[in-house]
Each structure stands twice: as C-alpha cells, then as structure tokens.
C-alpha cells in the first residue's frame, strides 16, 4: 500500500560529494547570520530584563539547524526542543512574530502563550518546541507516519540534544521509526552539555550516533560546525527517507557558546574549551569558505550581516512596542469545538 520501497537492513550512508550552488550557500550563510544576530540581540535584551522567562541560546549551533533545514522542503515537518529558535528560523518562521513570541507579546506567533519554549507554524511544517526534554521525539514519528499514510514523500525531522538521547522516548521513537521504516531523521545536536552535566558523566558511549546500530539503521557523526558537512549528510539522509529507505540518526558535534540559559556562569567547563570551539565557529568557517572560493566579497558579506542585524533590531523594536496579550485570552482554545 505504501508507495515507498521497503528496504531492510542498515547501510552506512556515503553521500556523493556534490558541489553546492553558490546561491544556496549564500542562503545558508544569511540564515546563519539571522540566527546569530537574533541570539546575540536577544541575549542582550534579556540581560537588560526586557522580557520574561528564560533564554536558551542557540549561539554556536547555527550550522546544525541551517544545514539540516536547507535539505528540507516547506512541506517537510520538524519537531524541536527548548532550544528551538535556530530551527524555527531555519525552517522559515518569520522573524518578527517569532521574536514577539519570545517577549510574550499578543502578536507573537502563539499570541504570547507559548513563550520561549513553544512556537509552531503548520504551514511550514514546524510542529512546535517543547519544555520536556525528549518530549518531541515521540510525536515526530506520527508526522512521519502521516506522510506514509498519505503516500507523499514528505519527511520529518526530530531535533534534540545529546542529553535527550538518554530519555526513553528517544529509544522508543528510534525503534518504531526503524521497524516501520519511517521517513524520519533523528538529528542529535551534541553540544557536550545537558544543563551543567557533560555527556561523559551521563553516557559511557561517546558517540550518540553509535546508538543507531541497535535499531538497524545508519548513524553518522558529522561536524556540526561545518554547515556544508551538515547539509551534505542531511541531504543524503533526506533522500534516503524520501525514497522509502527509512530513518537515519545524525549526530552533529557542536557547542553552545552561552550557558544552558542566559545567566548560567558555566563553572562546569573551562575557558580553554570555550576558546577552542570559538575557533571552530560555523559562521567564520563558512565566511572563509566563501571568500577562499571567490564566491563573494568581504564587503558583500559584511553588508549581509548589517542587513540581518538591522532586521533583528527592527523585530525587537516591534516586540518592545507591542501590547501584552489580553489575559482573558488565556481562557480560549482549551478545547477545539
């Protein structure tokens, strides 16, 4: 009944080395700039107490969201976490309503009720963030199964951290997706820490990707700070999923520059480690790549950054001057009628 070919067994993916169009590279770079600026400016705004709640910064991980989402179509699905802004933007969520949501404003994409950990856009296949670590992974299977039932070639992506890979939900979802051969990408962004706990303290296995073997599907470790590497791995995995060959686990090794949340003093890691990772900055690397390949000029790249900076600043201005939601709104939408 399914239009997909059912292929059994696991093969380690070896994507063909393909040249990516400059236009596509520029898009990725601009998207990474947008995320970088968004996170930078939100951090500053948060430190000035301009909005409530928490802020789980995505700074440093930009290549992960952008590399993966660049391999997706608008009608593909993503499910994300408490650290979801990178994914929202990479999948195409409009900047201003997203930022207004972070500020808890009436014109936020969820009317301010979702806040920092929850945003969604059905038209773009963005199926929400989560306050529950690992809470999104199970329902990504359902989105993938909708695609199977519809006979479409859509795919679904579940983003999560290495800390979440210790949740039972990860295991159950990996196993179901593998057994049912679902068009689902599991994307683990291993930023080395879960709150204040290093992965080495919570897992004996260093590579989350090695867990794929237990489900008979491919697992791959990717440099999560190299957007082109992420894109290539995601593209191959997406192609496999679209063709009916089932799920893949990608582990993107990366680092969060900030603390777990803005304000965390990061006592649990060294300044040297932070500096090492800063040296592998995903934007600097793509910047260098673009220039070394003569795809564009320094001044053009600078102008893009200024452009994104201004757009984010403008969005924050909008958020600051936007009204708070009418509290009475809290009573609506409990049930669909």
């Amino acid at each position: 009944m399914s239009p997909r070919k059912q292929t059994a067994g696991a093969k380690t993916p070896v994507g063909p080395v393909r040249t990516v169009e400059p236009g596509h590279i520029f898009q990725m770079y601009r998207k990474m700039l947008e995320i970088r600026e968004c996170e930078d400016q939100l951090n500053t705004a948060f430190s000035k107490n301009l909005f409530p709640g928490y802020i789980h910064s995505y700074l440093g991980q930009e290549a992960c969201a952008v590399g993966v989402c660049s391999a997706l179509r608008d009608d593909d699905y993503i499910v994300t976490t408490h650290r979801g802004r990178g994914h929202y933007l990479a999948k195409g969520m409009a900047l201003t309503p997203m930022i207004c949501e972070m500020f808890g404003k009436a014109n936020g994409i969820c009317g301010g009720r979702g806040g920092e950990m929850h945003a969604a856009d059905p038209a773009l296949g963005i199926l929400g963030g989560n306050g529950i670590v690992g809470g999104g992974i199970p329902y990504a299977t359902g989105a993938a199964y909708s695609a199977v039932l519809n006979g479409s070639d859509q795919v679904a992506v579940a983003f999560f951290g290495e800390g979440a890979s210790n949740q039972g939900s990860f295991h159950e979802a990996m196993n179901l997706a593998a057994a049912w051969n679902l068009p689902l990408l599991f994307v683990c962004e291993n930023n080395l820490y879960a709150e204040m706990t290093p992965f080495s303290a919570s897992s004996r296995q260093v590579d989350v990707a090695r867990r794929a073997e237990g489900y008979g599907i491919p697992g791959e470790v990717v440099d999560g700070n190299d957007v082109l590497a992420v894109y290539a791995a995601a593209e191959a995995a997406v192609a496999r999923a679209r063709s009916g060959a089932g799920p893949t686990l990608l582990e993107l090794k990366t680092y969060r520059y900030g603390g777990h949340f803005q304000g965390d003093p990061c006592h649990y890691r060294t300044r040297e480690e932070e500096a090492e990772w800063r040296a592998r900055d995903p934007l600097i690397r793509l910047h260098a790549h673009i220039l070394s390949q003569n795809l564009s000029s320094e001044s053009e790249l600078d102008s893009w950054r200024e452009d994104q900076k201004a757009q984010v600043a403008a969005a924050i201005e909008v958020a600051l001057s936007s009204p708070d939601p009418d509290p009475n709104e809290a009573l609506s939408f409990v049930y669909a009628s």
């Binding site: 306050g131 199970p138 329902y139 299977t141 359902g142 989105a143 179901l176 049930y335």
Partner: protein, 324 residues
C-alpha cells in the same frame, strides 16, 4: 436491531468510522494480526489493511506520540494502550503533548485522537491490570474522558470520540466485554459530555460509572421491592462532566450516592460530591455518600477483589442509610 456485546459494539464503531473516514487509523500492541489482545479489534486488519491497522512495539510512550504527531498533521489516529495501568509510561505524551497542543498553538493544530484503553477491574488479575485511574486524566484540561457502561453507549460514544477534534481518553471495561444489548442497525452517535439516566427514580440519586452502573441497577431492583426508588445516573464521560443532569436529579431526590471502582481520595466520587455541594447544597437532606474500594492496591485474586469493591449489597446498604 442486532444483539451485540460490548466488545463487538466497539469494533463496529471503529470499523464504521474507518470506512467513513480514510484519515482514521488504529495502532497499538497486538491490535492488527492478533485482532487485539482481548479481541477488541477483530477483523479490522482484513477490512482496512496493514497501514491503517498496525501492531506497534511495546512502547507506550511512542504509541501515544505516534497519535499526537499524526493528529497534528491531519490524521485521526486511534492509539491503544492495552491497560490503563500502563498510563504511567505515557502520561507525558498524553498530558504535556496531546492535551496542550491545541491550546498552546492557539488552535493551529487540531488534535483529533482517541487514546483507547481498558480497565480490567474485578477480573482478578492483580495490581498492574486493574486500576481505575480516570481521575488522572480527568484532572487535565484539554482532554476528554469517556467510560461507557453498555454496548450501545460504547458504540455511540466511540464514534463521537473518533469524530471529536480533541484528544479523548476512551476507557473500556474488560469485565463488561461480554454483556449484550440490542443495538439499532442505523448509524447513531452519542454525544460526549452527556450523562444518561439508566433508571429513573425519586428517592436517591446514584451516580455510578462502568461496572458500578450494573451493580447499581441490580441494587435498584432490590431496593424497589422495599419501596425505595433510586435514580441511576451514568455520567458516561467524566470530563466534561454533565453536572446539570446530576444536579437536576439531586434537586428531585435530595439524596445522593456516588459509586466507583476508583479510589475515593481525589477520585470521581469526591468530584461529584463537591459538584453537588456547589449546585444543590440546599436541596440535600443528608451529605452525599461516596462508596468506593478502600485505599489499597488491588491484590491478585477475585476473593480479595470481591471483598474490596462495592457490590449490590453494599450499594443497597448505603442507600438504606441515606434513607434512614
């Protein structure tokens, strides 16, 4: 009219809805090839094929998650958790995901899913297969909770649950699987949120769910011979709870008893008592009585269960006391 048992009435309901709407599908442990661990989905695989009737791994959390994601993306899943006792494994997906999606995203996603589950209370099969935990889900906004007591109710409510755009926890009762009733052959629905007066009476309002409805009806026969006419109300859905029907009855009878298989503290009996107090305090001649099993786990064996659970005799006794 055709004579149907409770189990087949449910199968019929699902079968009809699957035929009516291609977006409906059923997934759970042993629901497909085996036709259900307790026969609750016989014939559905053959009728609707392996994609729409599908066996899952033993993974309760992802079974519910499958439903959540499918509902968000346009399907109308029925996901089965074999026993309600296993809710401890999947409450996160039920409560933090399914129940809150429509609210959080301001209706951007409808959540038309049924979580089909079962209680096997009074089947003698011990502490992990006989709990009545409906209060857990009744406490959570965004969920609807259904507990039918008769074959016809089971069918009509299941059809409504499948058509509802909210997550509905549908709790069937294994002890009732074999009871039979004549059911009309034409299509019908029973609305969620509407109680049913299973027997009219003037003296005492008895609110009962599931198995207890039948015990209350049996008690009614005995009491009737003594000249006491109880009105037996089955809420059928405990969330939303049809307070109006209950209160209207109490206004007439001035006395009420609530009988449940669930425990008393934080259970339906307390909830109904509190609602009656809210809306009919001045109509009450005596305090609302709550008849439930004592606060213990369920031991194995029917001897213990028969001792612990309300029965005809204890209902009769409780009603007599209210009339004294």
């Amino acid at each position: 009219m055709t004579m149907k048992n409770y189990c087949w009435a449910l199968i019929d309901a699902i079968n009809e809805e699957m035929a009516r709407d291609p977006d409906v599908f059923l997934a759970g442990e042993d629901v497909a090839a085996a036709g259900g661990a307790f026969g609750g989905s016989r014939g559905l695989l053959a009728a609707h094929g392996p994609l729409r009737v599908r066996d899952t791994p033993i993974s309760e959390e992802v079974i519910v998650g499958l439903g959540v994601g499918a509902a968000m993306t346009g399907k109308r899943p029925i996901v089965e958790i074999m026993f309600m006792d296993f809710f401890g494994l999947c409450m996160d997906q039920i409560v933090n995901q399914a129940a809150k999606m429509h609210y959080l995203y301001q209706g951007a996603f409808k959540m038309p899913m049924v979580i089909r589950t079962m209680t096997a209370v009074e089947m003698g099969i011990g502490p992990h297969h006989s709990q009545s935990l409906e209060a857990w889900v009744g406490h959570v906004p965004g969920l609807k909770v259904v507990m039918p007591s008769t074959p016809r109710d089971a069918k009509g409510l299941m059809k409504s649950a499948i058509r509802d755009d909210n997550p509905v926890v549908f709790i069937e009762n294994l002890a009732l699987h074999k009871i039979k009733e004549d059911i009309e052959d034409e299509e019908f629905l029973i609305p969620l949120g509407k109680a049913d007066i299973k027997r009219a009476g003037r003296d005492v309002t008895v609110v009962a769910t599931g198995l207890m409805v039948h015990k209350a009806l049996a008690a009614a026969e005995i009491l009737s011979q003594e000249g006491i006419e109880i009105e037996v109300i089955d809420p059928r859905t405990i969330s939303p709870l049809d307070v109006d029907t209950i209160v209207a009855s109490v206004r007439k009878t001035n006395r009420a008893l609530v009988v449940t298989s669930a425990h008393k503290p934080f259970g339906l009996a307390s909830e109904v008592a509190a609602q009656i107090m809210d809306h009919a305090f001045y109509d009450l001649d005596v305090p609302v009585a709550r008849l439930t099993p004592p606060f213990t786990p369920q031991p194995f064996g029917k001897g213990f269960e028969a001792f612990l659970h309300p029965d005809k005799a204890s209902i009769v006794a409780a009603v007599r006391e209210l009339m004294a």
